[in-house]
Symmetry: none
Subunit: 135 residues, 4 copies
DNA sequence: GTGGTCTAGACCACG
DNA sequence: GTGGTCTAGACCACG
């Protein structure tokens, strides 16, 4: 299955962030499996109509987080999953995105049950797409 | 109940964003009712020890989004609630932050139950601060 | 004490790496204490005669590793020390630099005792310069 | 004893570097004696499943550093040991990798004893592979 | 003034 | 052909 990325230039979210997030999501969903090769920096840049440095920046961040690995001269591949961060650091990072999510939901005037249902829907969606539980 | 804001300078979240979010949340939670007066730009800046341009920027955004309104020469007040976003737009915005949250959580290797518990904890935390359920 | 950095353009080590390494070393040695401000991206770039993007790249990496933190519009500061990486990840990273060190030493024909003495000398040097043990 | 090389494609260390380092170490450790013949570029490339240009590049570097010598039409042999670097240069090079190693270890929050133990472990590992102490 | 992002284009290292 | 680094220069967000 070809990696399907789309970036929005009008967003406050920088382009390289959008790439990072979408690749991570593809890995989480099982669209990309361990060992799969990603498009080359230049090929992806051309496809997304962005500068190659922007793609490279996204790939560097993904490498640093252990999601992908770069084999010199050969390309970029999905890495074997490994735990990089301490429990404290993982909690710190979870808190950041949790805050962003719940605040935005509350500001948009969704109530607690709507938030719960949204979460359940999304978890089901992910589990359905190739993620074996007990991962 | 006086508006209780606290900003953190070390955060990646810009200060003006923190102000906007906390005011919005206070309105949603009922800590601030329609017609309540907010502190003046300069008073709030002084209290929070931030630049007054930063507070002004936050207020501009809140006015633009219809949360507060400025009455010339009198001050800034909580506006009558009006829905700005269509249902579809609200859902679209929720989906964005929901995706960001759940995929980050999964990448960080939290399982479904940990995610649910994190959500419950955060909701409880918010409800504790004056928000009655079903608000 | 002003931060004293020097980069060598002829090295195989990229410029941004040299900056990262030297800042880390300065933090380790106590030349930079928690809360100290680093030179601005542009000021440092000018001083080192390199492009500001190169300095920015170094700072981004230091932020990602939790060594420094960026306060928007104010500058970059030495962060409070926190453990980010798991034991396994720390070991993995140690192994990489350990291999590089010992291989090079062996290739240069230093014997085991010379290597031990070099390590002792360096540890003493670091402990003498503001690093309290039990850190 | 046949030259025992193993390269890891996933490493950040380029393949040609891995070959260079391992050959040098084999010479230092006595696994390869003066006058011993090395496998041909193509034979080694085939054995290691790498591009022959990669092996050639490694051999060029080893020749340049005086570790091996190529006898036209006959093959590649371990050269008579000669010191290329002055004492000062050897110390300078050791200092560079020593700094990199110790400061990374300290940043990763390993204490002095852990560093010592890591060194001992690595030295033992190397000595186990045919290097007699005092070599 | 501060850092962050992006582009266009170049050159290098590796295989 | 692959990724990595760097420059010069631009524009944006924040305070």
């Amino acid at each position: 299955m070809a990696l399907d990325l789309h970036i929005s230039t009008g967003s406050t979210n920088p382009i390289y962030r959008q790439i990072v997030d979408q690749v991570r999501r593809a890995v989480v969903c099982g669209e990309l499996a361990v060992g799969d090769q990603l498009p080359s920096v230049r090929a992806l840049a051309e496809r997304l109509l962005v500068n190659h440095n922007t793609v490279a920046k996204a790939y560097v961040e993904l490498v640093r987080d252990g999601v992908i690995e770069s084999r010199h001269g050969r390309g970029v591949f999905v890495a074997k999953k490994r735990s990089i961060y301490t429990k404290a650091e993982r909690n710190r990072r979870l808190e950041t995105v949790l805050d962003a999510f719940v605040s935005e939901a509350v500001i948009l005037d969704f109530d607690d049950d709507e938030i719960r249902r949204a979460i359940e829907r999304k978890l089901k969606e992910l589990n359905g797409r190739g993620r074996e539980d007990g991962t």
